[in-house]
């Protein structure tokens, strides 16, 4: 297979994958290095990358971080299962898309403005994007390919991503479970000993203490948790 999209660094101002002629995979297929393949083929290559490269990391985005739609909790649980089967896998979220200033905490999160900082600082050589809105996933994957040598996998609920080395489209929880099974298979083939273990707690995130939480903690979003006029909230967390 000719690799049309490969790990970077692709350079200062590289062409985008669509500009290079890469097209999204049709329904029922996946992309691997810019080529249309079966989802299993793409998952297998991604699994080997996650098992053999340094500091594998999953970057969950807003669409799987909040329980906002029927299938999301199941998906999020499947992602934890997947992470548990990848030796020494970390989870670093992309909780939102705002620029972080004065400086991003690269141990705690990744951000589409400068995703390469999180990749480079943590020496991540293989990663998975899941639940990141497609626009921001495309921007991030493109910048990672431009400036790092990280192998990128995109698990997408919609049509996938040309920029990722491996791209799975129309993702459901069952697909993540299938990916997990492939990871276990490839791990066994490679002879890697591993006991199912959840990733470590994100070291930079403080423990949430709801007893001391006040509207001020919500910053610019505090208006969203205030009751509406005439509304009486009886149930609280």
């Amino acid at each position: 297979m000719t690799k049309r999209v490969t790990e970077g660094p692709a350079g200062y101002m590289p062409q985008s994958a669509p500009e290079m002629g890469v097209e999204l995979a049709p329904e029922g297929s996946a992309l691997l290095y810019g080529n249309v393949v079966t989802p299993e083929e793409a998952m297998r290559d991604a699994a080997i990358a996650l098992l053999t490269r340094d500091n594998p990391t999953i970057f969950p985005g807003p669409q799987v971080l909040w329980d906002w739609k029927d299938d999301v909790a199941e998906k999020a649980a499947a992602i934890l299962d997947l992470a548990s089967e990848i030796p020494n896998c970390k989870i670093i979220p992309m909780p939102d898309y705002r620029p972080k200033y004065p400086k991003i905490d690269v141990k705690a999160e990744i951000n589409p403005n400068h995703p390469n900082l999180t990749i480079l600082d943590n020496r991540i050589k293989a990663c998975v994007f899941v639940g990141v809105h497609c626009h921001y996933a495309n921007l991030s994957l493109r910048m990672i390919r431009a400036g790092t040598d990280c192998y990128t996998t995109a698990l997408c609920a919609y049509m996938g991503h040309e920029e990722a080395m491996a791209s799975i489209r129309d993702l459901h929880a069952s697909d993540i479970q299938k990916f997990k099974e492939i990871v276990i298979e490839e791990r066994n083939k490679l002879g890697i000993e591993w006991e199912t273990t959840l990733p470590p707690e994100n070291p930079s995130l403080q423990k949430e203490d709801y007893s001391t939480l006040s509207p001020a903690d919500y910053g610019e979003y505090r208006s969203l948790i205030m009751t509406k006029k005439g509304e009486h909230v009886t149930e609280v967390e």
Partner: protein, 394 residues
């Protein structure tokens, strides 16, 4: 009365493929303005916003009528075009299906907002009913304003006649809302020549309507304050430019044009492709878009009757520009005549850039300022290209 309280018509909500390809149609004899409004009527539009300008006002007047009939949930006249186009961007954040239209100077007045739509990932349909750009003041047809639209990232379709106007407008709603596209789609056609002239249009019954817009199926979060991921401000990096990296701006621009490129497969799916070709083996081609394509088609017919080796290419999609398709269609051409309704010849420039032998492109004939495009002008160029005499009589 707000939109949620207004009575809405009960319709059969169906897929775009059913609407465009399967729903039974009946022939009507209507103007281009009516054709666009009839498409809007069937597109299950949530909101229309516009400011009147000739010749667009005919369309938006009719859209106002169908709003009053309950086909559209919300409609208002904005303060001017910059306000209109900004309001469209605002409404898009709330996750609704949107339509607006404008013409010539109105388009230019709204252009600052329109140019930002693609970057903001605004899925809206913009009707462009072409008109001269001042000065001197004129309300007559001339599609010079499309040249200004060509570099703002939007998908652009150019309708030849009333039927195209109906079909392209409907398809535009489906294309703009695709997750891998999600940039505005402009449907242009010539003011007066199409908007105020009647033609036959095959339309399906108005009891059918396009499926509801799904604001969650989007490449960016919709602003829905009740749904946690959507509490994120969508465009923070755009609005806080001094804090964003140069790199994100560059890849963001790439993403806009990649999205534009991705629209091509839907143009194939819904419109049968970005170009139409007749007599592909010919020596000389006439190539046009919009109303000029209609005149090219007629010139092609004349040439066939005279036994001349002339082919015809109609360009339906201006953005994404069908570079490969045109290159392929013209690979054996010895001359390509590009008639246009504007002075700068924007289509001619695009065609020259698309093919390896741009020297074969004949620049014109061009008419502007409201002038009509007589077929005889095109026939004269055809004869000249074939080395034949032609006695031009207008």
């Amino acid at each position: 009365m707000d939109a949620s309280q207004r009575p809405q018509l009960e319709k059969k909500k169906v897929d775009i493929n059913y609407l465009l390809k399967e729903a039974p149609r009946e022939q009507h004899f209507i103007t281009g303005a009516q054709a666009m409004a009839e498409a809007v009527k069937r597109a299950n539009v949530d909101m229309a916003i516009a400011y009147p300008i000739t010749p667009q006002s005919e369309v938006m007047h009719l859209v106002g009528d169908i709003y009053a009939q309950g086909h559209i949930k919300e409609y208002y006249r904005a303060e001017e075009e910059l306000g209109t186009m900004s309001a469209i961007a605002g409404a898009a954040r709330a996750g609704v299906r949107l339509f607006t239209a404008t013409s010539g100077p109105g388009l230019l007045r709204g252009l600052e907002a329109i140019v930002s739509w693609s970057g903001h990932r605004v899925p809206a349909v913009l009707g462009i009913l072409t008109r001269v750009v001042n000065a001197p003041l004129s309300i007559q047809p001339d599609n010079i304003e499309m040249a200004y639209m060509m570099h703002c990232g939007a998908v652009m379709l150019h309708a030849e006649n009333q039927q195209d106007t109906f079909d392209y407008t409907l398809a535009a709603f489906a294309i703009t809302e695709k997750v891998d596209v999600y940039i505005p789609v402009a449907v242009a056609t010539e003011g007066f020549f199409v908007t105020h002239a009647k033609g036959y249009v095959d339309m399906f019954d108005e009891e059918y309507a396009l499926n509801d817009f799904d604001p969650v199926a989007a490449p960016v979060p919709a602003m829905d304050n009740e749904t946690p991921p959507a509490r994120i401000q969508r465009d923070a990096p755009v609005q806080k430019s001094n804090f964003m990296s140069y790199l994100i701006h560059s890849v963001w621009q790439q993403e806009i044009w990649d999205s534009n490129k991705r629209a091509m497969k839907y143009i194939y799916e819904y419109l049968g492709g970005p170009i139409e070709v007749q007599n592909p083996e010919a020596d000389v081609f006439v190539l046009g878009s919009g109303c000029a394509a209609a005149q090219c088609r007629e010139a092609h017919r004349y040439a066939q009757e005279d036994g001349l080796s002339v082919g015809f290419v109609k360009v339906k999609a201006i953005r994404p520009f069908p570079t490969n398709e045109i290159r392929d269609a013209l690979k054996n051409a010895k001359a390509v005549i590009v008639p246009e309704h504007n002075i700068i010849g924007w289509l001619c420039k695009e065609v020259k850039a698309a093919i390896p032998n741009g020297g074969i492109v004949v620049e014109g004939p061009r008419v502007y300022g409201g002038m009509t495009l007589p077929v005889e002008l095109i026939m004269k160029e055809i004869h000249t290209a074939l080395g034949l005499e032609y006695d031009l009589k207008l």
